[in-house]
Each structure stands twice: as structure tokens, then as C-alpha cells.
């Protein structure tokens, strides 16, 4: 197999006595559509925080396109192509939707630090942001402050910001939570149509979505990888049924 887009080796993290990441070895292939599932508190969000640098691992290595990024700052990792969304909305609540996305795109294009002679560049940034909003069908709210949007639409802004970064590896933390089915269809559609070279890791508790989207699934339990496999393998796994899926039918 070719070099993975993202890889962790023996990644460990504990809060006091609690080990939330326990020797996690994980590979995310280029172009993968990979799901991470597991019980509440298994350490999924923590895992993403470790990868993006929001938390420092106790030990272990994190490789992005083969390069160790464990020592880098959050912003350096973003510059190398790591993008994420948050499980709990983390937006610029007082700013308009358009500005939320504009901020991200400005950072990516490297114009965000400029004070002089940027008028033209800034227009291009804003136009790109607006186009993205249209793609996510939230353009009509472009000038509303985010805080006045219903929850479901705020989730879409979360995703818009992450997409604005044009990441090579996209980490989605429960993107569809709180999003009604029609909008979550938009999200699904969008993720499916992302360029093939982008690797996507998605955390979800909505099994319909997971089983439709994912080519591979990793199950995390108490900070450790329980199993990894294709959706069919996972659905059939007795242990996974016991600790996570329960006895309801999933297809």
C-alpha cells in the first residue's frame, strides 16, 4: 500500500489516571472514507484533538503524509493540510456566516496577516467564501450573525469553515449531530463528492450515515482500538454489537 495520508503510532494520552488514548495505531489512507465509532467517552474526540494539536499526547507519533507532526503547533498542522470540525459548535457567533468562512479562507490564502494593499485579494477571498456557502445551500443566510441561526444550520457553517481550508485530511466530529435528515443528506452528498485525494475521517453515532458513507470503520473502546474492518465486518461483530450497536437492526 502507498504511504497513508495520516498515521499514528502507539499514541497515548491520559488525563490523570484515566487513559483516553491507549497505544493507538491508526492509518488513514489517501482518499479514504473512514469512520471512527465507539461508545460515549471512548476517546474519539480526544483522538482528533491529539492529531490536530489541541492536546499534547503523553507519548507516540503522529505522521501526516509520512512526516512527524507531533511537535508542531496547531497552526503549522493546518498549514500542512489538516482540517477539522468540532463536535460542539465552535463558531464566531457574533460574526456573519460569510465572515466566518472568509476568516478561514483568508488564513489559507495567507492574506490574513495583511494590512496594506490587499483590497483585491480580499475580494477574491470573500467571493470564494460565498461560492462555498452556495454549495452548502446556506448562502441566503450569508449576512446573518451565526448566533441567530437555528442549530442545524450552524452545523453547516462548521463544515463550511473546515472546507474553506481545503484540507488534504478532513476530520469530522459528529458533523450530522443535530442536523435534520434533509440537511444531513447535503452533508453526505458533499463528503461523497469531495475530491478523491482527500482523506476523510468521520465520527458519527448515526449508523445509517456511517454505514452508507464509510469504506472502513474503526471501533474505539476505552481509548483502545477494538476492531477495524469493512462495514459488513463491523456490523457482524458480536463484541461491537455488545458494547456499542446494541440489538437494533442496522443495514
Amino acid at each position: 500500500m502507498s504511504r497513508p495520508a495520516l498515521e499514528t503510532r502507539e499514541l497515548n494520552k491520559s488525563f490523570g489516571a484515566l487513559a483516553v488514548a491507549n497505544n493507538i495505531d491508526f492509518r488513514l489512507e489517501v482518499g479514504a472514507r473512514h469512520a471512527l465509532i465507539g461508545p460515549n467517552g471512548a476517546g474519539k474526540t480526544t483522538f482528533i484533538n491529539l492529531i490536530t494539536g489541541r492536546l499534547q499526547p503523553s507519548s507516540g507519533r503522529i505522521l501526516l503524509a509520512g512526516e512527524d507532526i507531533a511537535g508542531l503547533s496547531q497552526e503549522a498542522r493546518v498549514k500542512r493540510g489538516l482540517g477539522r470540525t468540532f463536535q460542539i459548535n465552535t463558531l464566531f457567533r457574533g460574526l456573519s456566516v460569510l465572515e466566518n468562512v472568509t476568516l478561514a479562507i483568508a488564513e489559507r490564502q495567507g492574506v490574513a496577516g495583511g494590512i496594506f494593499r490587499v483590497a483585491g485579494a480580499y475580494r477574491r477571498v470573500a467571493e470564494e467564501a460565498y461560492a462555498l456557502l452556495e454549495r452548502l445551500r446556506i448562502a441566503e443566510d450569508a449576512l446573518k450573525p451565526v448566533r441567530e441561526l437555528p442549530y442545524g444550520r450552524q452545523r453547516l457553517v462548521e463544515i463550511a469553515i473546515a472546507l474553506g481550508l481545503k484540507p488534504k485530511v478532513l476530520l469530522l466530529d459528529e458533523p450530522a449531530a443535530g442536523v435534520p435528515t434533509p440537511e444531513s443528506a447535503i452533508i453526505l452528498d458533499l463528503v461523497e463528492r469531495l475530491p478523491a485525494e482527500i482523506a476523510v475521517l468521520i465520527i458519527e453515532h448515526d449508523m445509517d450515515l456511517v454505514f452508507r458513507l464509510a469504506q472502513r470503520i474503526t471501533v474505539l473502546v476505552q481509548g483502545g482500538v477494538l476492531v477495524e474492518g469493512t462495514p459488513a465486518e463491523i456490523a457482524a461483530d458480536a463484541r461491537v454489537r455488545e458494547v456499542y450497536l446494541g440489538e437494533r437492526r442496522h443495514d
Binding site: 488525563f15 435534520p180 453515532h205
Partner: protein, 239 residues
């Protein structure tokens, strides 16, 4: 069946914006109602209005025989309304235990009242985190805590705003089972807002569907479960 909650011709919103436009409904002891609708139609606003978080422009809210439309929020809670908000709203600087104790309300005459021990029984993973601060919890744990906190008030009416979001399937199963028990044993009335229409319809016998602040359909859940076409038409879900 006596009326526990009755809303008539509610118009409510935020400040001057009106979101809800003429909603009426009644709910009896042990009565469960699912509230469905597209994104942004005012489901959250409806629950928030019962709790008193919005500006009520017109209409009356009667709970347990008293008009509470002008009551302070805390009085409504003391009267027996429990609320699980959509954004969980855990108190970050309180530990799990403290989050539960601040909400505890004793109600004389209630047989098997909710205690901290019972909440921990329902959500074992919370018990393991009892000393964590509110902001040191995973998303799902916060959701559980929010539900547990509402239960600690031993309410007679429970307002649940997307309570299943972010919970693992096994937990959802456990929670739904527990809610079923509550309805039967304690005659707990529940208003449930859910994105997963199917789950909600299976749980609650009655359903109210909102669109842009108006009630567009109310009736028996079975009717919709049996007629997916119609459901899709109302809330835009395929299947």
C-alpha cells in the same frame, strides 16, 4: 386523563422577532408528544416557551391548572417542569456530582424519586466521571448529564430537545427503555423534539409537526409511521 399542560394560541419569539405563530396543544398525565419539523421551524422555540425562555407575545400557558405564562422561570421548574436543552448547557465549573445536586428537588409523595444513585444506574459511564468538571466531559457524557440533571428535579413534565443526539446506539436503547418505564410508572408527561423521525414516532403515541412556526399536522403517530409518503411531505424525509 387530566390536562397537565395546555397551550393555546401561542405567539412567541426572541425580542421582537416572532417565531411561533398560533400554536395550541394539550398534554395529559403520562401523555407523550413528539414534535417534528424541518430545521429552524421553531421546535426549540416551542419548548423554550414552555420553560419561559422566550418572549411570549400572545396566548396562554397553563400547567397543572395554573396559568404560568407570566411566571418566573425558576417557578416553572419548581412547579415540576424539567428541561433538557438542545445545547446541553452543562455548568462547566461544577463537577458531575454538583451538576446533579444543584438540580435536586424533593417532591413529597413521589414513590421512587430520582436520586443521584439512580441517575448513575441509568448512565454508568457518568458514575465513573463523577468528579470531572462539566467541561471535561465528552459530548455524549454531557448529553447524559443534561438528561440526568433534568430527572433529578423529579419533574412531572419533561421537555426533551434532541436528547438522543450524540449518544451511542446502546445508550439510546437504554434511555428509551427508561423513558418508557417513567411514562408507565410515574405517569411522566414528555414533549420530545427529535431529528430521527422514526425513533420519535415509535416512542411517542402522538405527534405535532411544525412548519415555519405553525402547526401543520397533529395526530396519531401510527398514521405517519404507516404512511412514509405523507411524513416525507411534511418534514422532508425520504423513507
Amino acid at each position: 386523563m387530566t390536562d397537565m399542560l395546555s397551550l393555546s394560541d401561542i405567539c412567541a419569539g426572541y425580542g421582537e422577532t416572532v417565531v411561533l405563530d398560533g400554536i395550541s396543544l394539550t398534554l395529559g398525565d403520562g401523555d407523550n408528544l413528539a414534535v417534528l419539523g424541518r430545521n429552524g421551524v421553531g421546535k426549540t422555540t416551542l419548548l423554550a416557551t414552555v420553560m419561559g425562555h422566550t418572549t411570549l407575545h400572545a396566548g396562554s400557558v397553563v400547567f397543572a391548572g395554573r396559568d404560568i405564562a407570566r411566571s418566573a422561570i425558576y417557578k416553572r421548574a419548581l412547579a415540576g417542569i424539567g428541561y433538557v436543552p438542545q445545547e446541553r448547557e452543562i455548568f462547566p465549573s461544577l463537577s458531575v456530582e454538583e451538576n446533579l445536586t444543584v438540580a435536586a428537588q424533593r417532591r413529597p409523595g413521589r414513590a421512587n424519586a430520582w436520586t443521584m444513585a439512580r441517575v448513575f444506574d441509568l448512565f454508568p459511564s457518568l458514575a465513573a466521571r463523577r468528579r470531572n468538571m462539566g467541561n471535561q466531559l465528552s459530548g455524549g457524557e454531557q448529553q447524559m448529564l443534561s438528561i440526568g440533571r433534568a430527572l433529578m428535579g423529579n419533574p412531572s413534565l419533561l421537555l426533551l430537545d434532541e436528547p438522543l443526539e450524540g449518544l451511542a446506539p446502546v445508550i439510546i436503547d437504554a434511555l428509551i427503555a427508561a423513558l418508557h418505564r417513567l411514562r408507565q410508572e410515574d405517569r411522566l408527561a414528555i414533549m420530545l423534539v427529535e431529528q430521527h423521525a422514526r425513533l420519535a414516532l415509535e416512542f411517542a403515541p402522538r405527534v405535532l409537526i411544525l412548519d415555519r412556526g405553525k402547526a401543520v399536522w397533529a395526530g396519531d403517530s401510527r398514521a405517519l409511521l404507516d404512511d412514509p409518503q405523507k411524513l416525507a411531505g411534511l418534514i422532508g424525509v425520504a423513507g
